[in-house]
Amino acid sequence: MKSMITIIKEQISSFYLILRLSAFEMKSANVNNYLGRFWEILNPAIQLAIYWFVFGIGIRGGQKIPLENGVQAPFFIWMATGMVVWFFVNPMITSTSRSIYSRIQLIAKMSFPMSAIPSYVIMAGFYSHLMLVALITIILQFTQFKISAYFIQLPYFMLATLIFLLALALITSTLATIIRDVQQLIQSITRMLLYLTPLLWHRDKLEFHHVDLTFLLKLNPLYYIVEGYRASLLGTSWYIWEYPSMTLYFWGITLVFFIIGSVLHLKFRNRFVDYL
């Protein structure tokens, strides 16, 4: 608990730096491409197209998806509103785990805490996420899913995503610095998560030999975030209040991650340079 407070204090005190450094991070990420930042839209668009083709047309045969409030949503819209989170979370999980050991030589001597490194990497990704969310919101205005009061939940879910990513990054960046293999493990896990989060396929009930396995999917904390984004963008429910157990579970897991991450990070950070 004490370590967690230390980390939070560090985050707040270096907030200005996190913002400034994330701008540089973004610049250096796109400097080699001719199309520059345009790829941040083009890449997701290509992926959405192929997933829509394979899952929407190929597997589902163009069938619509029933939402919680009874409305039938086209598969593409259902998928895009969930995938918008994935396009942010997926690269962030892998790049934050690399964040410390790939930068430590560049910034070994600095006057800000090392816990700010994952945060500024996350912030750099967050800008393009905002852009993508805005784009999806605009597209949705041309469908039956126009902006509604439910939309005000979105900032909450964005904040939840950021905090969750930071908590996870504290663990993964520390472990990956000490043991490089963790990097590979994280890549495999994120690849799995694509299919274990309600992004590409949908079942109200997952039954196997008459045993209800739906709860297994809900153990994934990303379930809460993805469904929350969807509820806000498509205007289906007040997700935070209507599913209090999910809310509690998500914050519980995030807190546990945060505590473990802070303890690990503080314990090893003085020796990170030795592990290179």
């Binding site: 400034r20 610049k27 250096s28 400097v31 030589q105 001597k109 600095m110």
Partner: protein, 266 residues
């Protein structure tokens, strides 16, 4: 004059591993696993403001390790290092971001050293003038020659006005003109009463700059004192070492290795 760098009983221990499994064991076992290697053993000294200290020693004697520890880049295994004021280290690989332009690197580097935007804007022209790399300042650093990189790195490090400056063989890359410019800057620092640590293999440069010298031999301080005392002794040792037969050199190295493993006390 007040003391600005106090180094007390500093040890730096590394573990030598030949296989990944040994590395893993080292992480898991509470006592660690693997052969010890002492890069530095029981280093203690103090430097005052205005001191220019030369660090000399043959390859592998721990000069760079010591300068990194003084700069705070790597932590000592045991012992303490106290520094008064900001430290800045200039090494050949100066830690620039290859993707960004020189100008962006200046801002990035200064940000990380904790400067405000206004201060950076004020320093930028000064850095660019000192580095003197012309239009390349707006080119990505990956297109720089090694000389340009070290010039930019040097320019940033001296312009941020550190209280303690550590120069790790950085002067050996630039050409004569730039070396002269850097030397002048360092003389200026010397007059301002800053502490400078100077790592070099060039005895000429050490004699020109430094008043005191630390002679490191395989992780230990062999001698610490005024340059006229230490450097002749060191030169004498170099001569002797060079004139040794291969056999003798090998024996000497083995003896030293034993010492660095912490096995023998000579």
């Amino acid at each position: 004059m007040t003391e600005s760098v106090i180094v007390k009983n500093v040890y730096k221990k590394y573990k030598m591993h030949t296989k990944p499994t040994e590395k893993l064991l080292d992480l898991i076992l509470p006592g660690g696993y693997g052969e010890d290697f002492y890069a530095l053993q029981d280093i203690s000294f103090t430097a005052k403001q205005g001191d220019v200290v030369g660090l000399v020693g043959v390859n592998g004697s721990g000069k760079s390790t010591l300068s990194n520890i003084i700069a705070g880049v790597i932590p000592p295994t045991t012992g303490t290092v106290e520094t008064v004021g900001q430290t800045s280290i200039i090494a050949i690989s100066s830690g620039l971001n290859n993707q960004l332009t020189g100008r962006e690197n200046i801002e990035l580097k200064c940000l990380m050293l904790g400067f405000k935007k206004k201060e950076i804007q004020a320093m930028e022209p000064e850095i660019i003038e000192f580095a003197d790399i012309g239009k390349f300042i707006d080119q990505p650093v990956k297109k720089y020659s090694s000389g340009m990189k070290s010039r930019l790195g040097f320019a940033i490090s001296v312009t941020v006005n550190p209280d303690i400056l550590i120069v790790d063989e950085a002067l050996s890359v630039g050409d004569q003109v730039f070396a002269q410019k850097s030397k002048n800057k360092m003389f200026e620092f010397k007059e301002k009463g800053k502490t400078i640590f100077f790592v070099s293999h060039s005895m000429g440069q050490i004699k020109e700059f430094c008043e005191t010298a630390i002679w490191l031999e395989y992780g230990e301080i062999k001698q610490y004192g005024p340059v006229p005392e230490v450097i002749p002794q060191y030169e004498k040792f170099l001569k002797k070492y060079k004139s040794m037969s291969n056999e003798e050199q090998k024996k000497f190295r083995e003896k030293v290795m034993q010492k660095q493993r912490g096995l023998a006390t000579i």
